[in-house]
């Protein structure tokens, strides 16, 4: 009996040991398996034969491990096999025969079209793959646009093998844009801003990074038309127009953020005094501490001047974007 138990114990141990061996990763042989099946896309077996679930990033840093992994493409629109337009791996990465047919354990040659961080594939070659399908629509003006001529690749901003493409989500889009646009990041941290950090407005609400017919990649033909998509009450036309507002909202406003109230580039009264120093009280173009009142500045005028404190000129001249009131010639109605 003891011997039976001994044999059984040995056999069980053997049985346990063999699957454990099977669960250990084999020594890397980077040749694709002959019997590999498509995992996600039609014809992807020639790639997923190697780039399978064992490849997904775990933090263990194995040789085959890619970061990011590739299989997450299945979670996205690019992974929908039933859509006849969906490309397979080689449609984007090229046929890559040398990479696919590589045998042995040393690192294989790169794919024909690599989208990795330090890729040597030129930006326009990478973009050509994407533009095979994604031309027209928002990308109609891509050729010759600021990003295209700056050799920005589609994958500089977009993540295709990721369940979530950060730049296409209003909550995370700004992080992608701020990777390059540091000045705008700094401005978005100022005291007066659009709701960029709160996720209420994304960069793409005003800009089309793929190219546009307007200046500075704006979504509309002019700056004012872009602003008026949300600020429709300022469109007019008005009976009494305020020339700097009608000309260009950017004459007075800094849309990415400002240290002045209402996203202004400079503060009243000085902003206003840069154009108005003519009649009445505007002949006093150098408002100073004297206008804050003796209660705040010793020796100053007895009364604080409404042209200086509070909203300054806008304490009276409120309709600075234009007025439709017959008595609004001076924007006080």
């Amino acid at each position: 009996m003891k011997k039976v138990i001994g044999y059984a114990a040995f056999a069980l141990t053997l049985g346990l040991f063999v699957p454990a061996q099977a669960a250990d990763k084999p020594a890397p042989n980077l040749a694709v398996k002959a019997d590999a099946k498509d995992l996600i896309l039609k014809g992807d077996a020639k790639c997923t034969g190697c780039h399978d679930e064992a490849d997904e990033p775990t933090g263990a840093g194995t040789m085959l491990e890619l970061n990011p992994g590739v299989l997450a493409i299945g979670k996205t629109k690019h992974g929908v096999k039933a859509d006849k337009r969906t490309p397979t791996c080689t449609d984007c990465h090229g046929d890559s025969e040398k990479h696919r047919m590589h045998k042995g354990s040393e690192k294989p040659p790169a794919v024909d079209r690599s989208f990795r961080k330090n890729s040597v594939t030129p930006a326009d070659a990478r973009n050509g793959a994407c533009m095979t399908c994604h031309k027209g629509g928002n990308r109609l003006q891509w050729a010759g646009s600021q990003h295209e001529s700056g050799e920005v690749a589609c994958n500089s901003c977009h993540q295709v093998h990721s369940k979530k493409d950060k730049v296409r989500d209003t909550a995370t889009q700004r992080e992608v844009c701020f990777t390059c646009h540091k000045q705008q990041r700094a401005e978005s941290m100022r005291t007066s801003t659009h709701p960029i950090k709160a996720g209420g407005v994304a960069c793409s609400n005003c800009h089309n990074p793929h190219g546009s017919t307007g200046p500075k990649l704006l979504v509309k033909n002019t700056a004012n038309e872009t602003c008026w998509t949300c600020h429709t009450e300022k469109r007019g036309p008005f009976l009494w127009e305020h020339p700097p507002a009608t000309d260009d909202c950017m004459n007075c406003h800094s849309p990415h953020g400002s240290n002045q109230v209402s996203l202004l580039k400079s503060r009243p009264p000085y902003l206003c005094a840069s154009c108005h120093i003519a009649g009445g009280h505007s002949t006093t173009g150098i408002r100073s501490g004297n206008d804050l009142g003796a209660g705040v500045v010793p020796g100053a005028a007895a009364s604080a001047a409404p042209q200086m404190v509070g909203k300054s000129c806008l304490n009276c001249h409120t309709q600075v974007h234009g007025s439709n009131h017959p008595a609004g010639a001076r924007f006080a109605r």
Partner: protein, 784 residues
């Protein structure tokens, strides 16, 4: 013997069976796990997160745009559902964020990929203006603001004494409002925007698709406006900030048909935007009321106009054609029309109407552009194009004789004005050449030509030439940098500083501003002055300082320099450096008045460090310094002295206002993701600003009256800590903590009381300052 063989066979058989079980059972489990793993990695996943958070303090500034302005608990509710069928292309996506807050958003999209999709989006956005504002009015939040009961009787206009001259000429001041402080009431000034958007896209055969969209935007609440009244002779006005009701609705419609072919892509579309303002004009009682005033001030109410309803319709078409693998041509056209024909209000609360009932406002917009992009050789690429934008304002010009700020006395000659429907045409010609000097070096040379034409402006237009050059170089696989320079020069056509404003008045009024026997040109006609001859009287009617130059119209020289460097000293460390500088000069304003120089410097530094596979850190620092100098004056009442500033800065009454705007921002963060059940991290951010206003080169006549102002500043610091723990495979607990502190100082509000100004009733607004703690705990459930 037989027994021994049988026993031995039995033992062998038993051992083999047990081994077979040991071989087969784990193998079958491993295959299921592998299939599950592949499904988990390749199928879309969804997540629902529910929890509760708490904010320790109330502050509009803290809660601006987020809705976290009230202390206390709030619901955490986020949802992300992504479903894609295995067998067909049907899909459904639902993303809901901040569903427990006034900044909630929900987006739903579904359909059949490659065939059609429908989308619905809903979002809310709170804009919190002030939680410290006060006024004595009743009815705040409505279109009728009423003075406290018996208010007029509490205004002390008793003649004589310390504050009051004789009855009849008294201009009521805030000091005379004996019950002002007692009647101050707080009111939260805020607006809420709610948007609902619907859309449908349908793919059609042969490369076509069509998209239809509709958006309904509603914004209501209040925002602060000044409510001035004429309360005495000349420029005597009393005013205060009041909550103006906002009730805006905008409806946007869009219809686009698109074609995508191998070489040709194009689209045609129509869009309409309809704005409607349902708020009634704001009527407010006169808090500076003086029943016996003979020079204004005895009107009972004032009335502010609202933003008028308007519409914008536009048709557009765009196309791009790939002439060859190296050359592409693209362009677009768009024609639009803005209209506005809201009925006018009367000139004043006395209800006299203008001759015309409404504006009949009409602006036609035209845009077209064309662009060529071509690879001329293997190493040279050209982009060249032309853009045309025209705003043709066809609004009729009429005469309006108005009461200033609801004054009851009859309008004077200076109150008859013509409206000026502004038109503008802008043409831009541009060309860029990109050279690949080597595999590592690119050079860009560019030229832009802008031409602008205006109507009703001091200048008929301007032309600007810009030249740019930029070099980028890849030093090694780990280091790259670049530098760029742009020079622009804008020249305005003949600039007549006083002309534009003068043309809005009548010839008769202008003639009365200058003395016999002088003449002036009015609309091309020689017109005689009519004021009595005088040695110090004006020889020409002037209304704008002739030597004033408006910065957006006048001559300008601009230089911009920028540089960057990206270095990866190690595989796990990326460093980015950036700097820029610009200098703008306005030569004619340097001689006369207006903005004469603006400079700006920015510096940026970023570091991204992957310490281990589990630990990453980031750091950034930004420094900005902007400065403007403008020539200004505290003018005199001497007409000759003022009008003779035709070409020069008047030193005795002049000075330079220099404004510095300096900010710095930094961020430090790290993430720990060891790959197990938990991850955590922290972010620390800080942003500061300083605004300094200085007065230099003050003239002898004014130096004694110009006092310094203190610097303004803002400081915001925030610490975020977060952690995530995976209780089970699909269930995680999220914990968040944030602390944010904000301080600010601004001389426009600091130290101002209800009566600091005799003619501006104080609002009680305090510069924002808060320290807020926020904690949140939620459970997130993932499913496929």
């Amino acid at each position: 013997m037989e027994n021994t063989v049988e026993n031995r066979f039995s033992r062998t058989l038993l051992a083999a069976s047990i081994a077979a079980i040991g071989l087969s059972a784990p193998t079958a489990t491993w295959a299921d796990e592998a299939a599950d793993e592949i499904r988990r990695l390749t199928r879309p996943e969804s997540e629902i997160e529910l929890g509760v958070g708490d904010v320790s303090g109330s502050s509009f500034k803290f809660g601006d745009y987020t809705g976290l302005n009230k202390s206390g608990a709030y619901g955490i509710a986020n949802i992300s559902v992504v479903r894609r069928n295995d067998d067909d292309a049907r899909f459904l996506e639902i993303v809901g964020r901040n569903l427990g807050l006034d900044s909630r958003s929900l987006r739903i999209e579904g359909g059949e990929q490659g065939n059609y999709s429908m989308r619905l989006g809903y979002s809310e956005l709170p804009k919190l203006h002030s939680d410290t504002y006060q006024s004595p009015y009743g009815g705040m939040g409505t279109s009728r603001l009423t003075a406290p009961a018996g208010w007029a009787g509490t205004i002390d206009i008793t003649p004589g004494g310390a504050i009051n001259p004789p009855i009849g000429t008294t201009v009521v001041t805030t000091a005379m409002m004996t019950q002002l402080a007692a009647n101050m009431k707080p009111f939260e000034v805020k607006t809420q925007r709610k948007d609902l958007a619907l859309g449908l896209t349908k793919l059609l055969p042969a490369g076509w698709d069509v998209d239809v969209s509709y958006k309904h935007s509603k914004k209501d609440g209040t925002k602060l406006l000044g409510a001035p009244l004429q309360i005495g002779a000349g420029g005597s006005r009393g005013t205060l900030l009041v909550p103006d009701p906002i009730d805006y609705t905008t409806e946007d419609f869009g219809l686009t048909a698109r074609y995508v072919g191998e070489k040709l892509q194009m689209q045609v579309g129509y869009s309409a935007s309809l704005f409607k303002n349902s708020a009634q004009p704001l009527v407010f009682d006169n808090l500076f009321y003086n029943a016996v005033s003979t020079v204004g001030g005895n009107m009972l109410t004032g009335r502010l106009g609202q933003m008028p309803d308007n519409q914008f319709h536009q048709v557009s078409a765009a196309a791009g054609y790939t002439l060859s693998t190296d050359t592409r041509l693209s362009g677009s056209v768009a024609f639009g029309r803005m209209t506005q024909n809201e009925s006018f209000l009367p000139y004043s609360t006395a209800n006299a109407m203008p001759a015309t009932n409404s504006l009949n406002g009409k602006v036609d917009t035209t845009h077209y552009d064309i662009k060529l992009n071509s690879r001329l050789t293997r190493t040279i690429k050209l982009t060249a194009g032309y853009r045309y934008d025209d705003r043709d304002n066809r609004t009729p010009v009429n005469t309006y004789t108005y009461n200033t700020a609801d004054v009851t006395t009859a309008p004077g000659a200076s109150n008859t004005r013509f409206n000026t429907p502004l038109s503008k045409t802008k043409e831009v010609l541009f060309g860029d050449l990109d050279f690949h000097l080597s595999k590592a070096t690119t050079l860009k040379l560019g030229y832009d030509y802008d031409s602008v034409k205006h109507t009703y402006e001091p200048t008929a237009g301007d032309k600007e030439h810009s030249y740019k050059a930029e070099v980028k170089h890849q030093f090694t696989a780990m280091a790259a940098g670049g530098i760029g320079y742009t020079h622009s020069k804008r020249d305005a056509a003949n600039y007549d500083g006083g002309g534009a404003l003068t043309a809005t008045y009548t010839a008769a009024y202008l003639a009365g501003l200058c003395v016999i026997p002088n003449t002036f040109i009015y609309n091309g006609i020689v017109t005689a002055c009519t004021a009595a001859a005088s040695a110090t009287g004006a020889t020409t009617p002037w209304l704008d300082t002739p030597s004033l130059r408006k910065f957006f119209l006048t001559d300008r020289k601009r230089d911009k320099l920028h540089a960057f460097a990206n270095i990866s000293p190690a595989d796990n460390l990326d460093l980015q450096f950036g700097a820029s500088y610009y200098n703008e000069k306005y030569p004619e304003a340097e001689l006369g008045y207006g903005l004469k120089q603006a400079t700006g410097t920015t510096l940026n530094f970023d570091a991204n460090w992957k310490a281990t596979d589990a630990v990453t850190g980031t750091f950034f620092l930004s420094l900005d310094d902007f400065k403007t100098d403008q020539n200004a004056h505290n003018g005199s009442t001497n007409n000759i002295e003022r009008q003779n500033n035709a070409a020069a800065f008047q030193a005795a009454r002049g000075g330079v206002v220099s404004i510095t705007d300096r900010s710095w921002a930094m961020g430090l963060g790290f993430r720990v993701k060891p790959g197990g059940k938990y991850e955590w991290g922290a972010d620390l951010t800080h942003a500061s600003s300083m605004g300094a206003t200085r007065f230099n080169n003050l003239g002898t006549a004014i130096a004694g009256t110009v006092f310094p102002v203190s610097d303004t500043n803002t400081r915001r610091s925030r610490l975020d800590l977060f952690g995530k723990y995976e209780v089970k495979k699909d269930v995680a607990i999220n914990l968040n903590y944030a602390f944010e502190k904000y301080t600010s100082a601004d001389w426009a509000w600091d130290g101002q009381t209800w009566t600091s100004s005799t003619s501006l009733i104080g609002s009680g607004i305090i510069n924002p300052r808060y320290s807020v703690h926020m904690i949140g705990a939620s459970v997130a459930y993932k499913f496929q």
